[in-house]
């Protein structure tokens, strides 16, 4: 009887632990390898934090603007402006998480380059560039220069970054 009870308890623990294993296959903000982001939606949401008009651009424009190695990128979405200001959004899904740090470095260079140019062209834009957001999680990288950094940060956090 005692053995039977023990066996029953252990069997229940087994089932519970197995269920936990399958249940934890989805999105989890604490497990960076399992992050799944809707890149297009995230880009759209971040566009909402920019006051001026931005428009999504082709992958060719993304490649020539940010100098990413597009062979290492599975999905890319970016929104650029009319040339009047520094606001822009990029969301990348890299084929492998090992490329994300290089993508982040390229985006940091982008910020430096833009800051240099806007310092003499339209100085108030430099403040937005100083507050530029660059974040990576799992295979994803997000970059945003915006009119509302707080709101953008909240959107990015809610997306799992």
């Amino acid at each position: 009887m005692k053995n039977k009870t023990k066996a029953l308890v252990l069997a229940c623990l087994c089932i519970f632990a197995t269920l936990m294993l399958t249940a934890c296959g989805g999105k989890s903000s604490s497990d960076s390898a399992d992050v799944t982001v809707d890149a297009k939606q995230l880009c759209k949401d971040l566009e909402g934090t920019i006051d001026s008009e931005v428009s999504e651009v082709s992958s060719d424009v993304i490649a020539s603007t940010y100098f990413f190695d597009m062979d290492k990128i599975e999905e890319s979405v970016a929104a650029l402006n009319s040339g009047s200001n520094a606001c822009e959004v990029v969301v990348l899904k890299c084929k492998d998480a090992s490329y994300t740090s290089e993508a982040e470095d390229l985006l940091k260079k982008r910020v430096e380059s833009q800051s240099e140019l806007f310092a003499s062209y339209n100085a108030p834009e430099v403040a937005k560039l100083d507050a530029a957001i660059i974040k990576a999680k799992g295979n994803y990288v997000v970059y945003c220069v915006t009119d509302d950094t707080d709101k953008a940060n909240e959107i990015i956090k809610n997306a799992g970054f």
């Binding site: 632990a17 936990m20 934890c24 428009s55 402006n81 040339g83 390229l106 982008r110 140019l117 799992g160």
Partner: protein
Amino acid sequence: MAQKKKRPNARERRNGFIINILTLIVLILLVFEGKSLISLFSSQTIQDRIRQEESEVFASANLTEKQTEAVTEMSSENSTEKSSENTTEQENESETDAPVTDRFTGLPDGSDEYMDIVVPEQASAVDDSYFEDAVFIGDSRMQGFRNLSGITKGSFVTAVGMELENFYTDSQIATAAGNVTVLDALKNINFSKIYMMLGTNELGAYDMSQVGESYRQVLADIKQLSSSPDPIVYVYSVIYVDEPLVTTGDYVNNTNVDAVNMEILKMCKEEGYHYINLNEVLSNGYHGLISGAAEDGIHLNTDYCKEWLEYTKTHYIPSV
């Protein structure tokens, strides 16, 4: 005398074995799931997960609402645009005759003698492949064109603030290795067509004739870097501005736009370049930019950048 321990029988041995196996399985699963278990039961994570799921639910609800709102807005905008167009047309008609839009539209007064270098409309449009060997060089307006027009071919060497004065000196073209000068950037591009747009940042120049001379020199140097001995040179007109919206200085006005364009026309005539008169389609007919074409009065929005591209595709020099 103590009771001797009985040896377990086969059944008891089997039960014990099963229990040991189950214990092992549980331990293995706990090792894999230990981290998740800890996070599962942390209150912060529970709150975050609830918030995340809430936002997902509301996001999908909002998306449906936004789609409905967008359709409603589009239909009300269409009716508003139509009624405002009708009103504007009526107002224009009441002030003066309705402007005739043709290849003379948007040209500076007194530019008749330069009509032979103004690129006429061709019978058929080229597609983007025409731009494969083209380089587009220019200021922030050209950069906006690259970003918003949907053009898929061509090399772009653009920078906000590019002007004739800093053309040779400023490292303003972004590359993977950092910013370089325009000429250094062009050295790495094979091009046999040039599309050039400068002049908006020259509107405050004291001497417009000097603008013409500087433009002439810049284009001569660019041509030297072409992979073709005789590249086709297209020079875009400076696009009019929407003066009431401009905040960057009084000198950014359409009188100065016409003055710069006159110098550009002279230069094109003398050098055999081809002048693309964008103001034919972007002018309001009164030497100004179409109202609503640019949020800040200068940088064109998406629709008008697309218009720019379409105009470029129908205004080219057919190959002989």
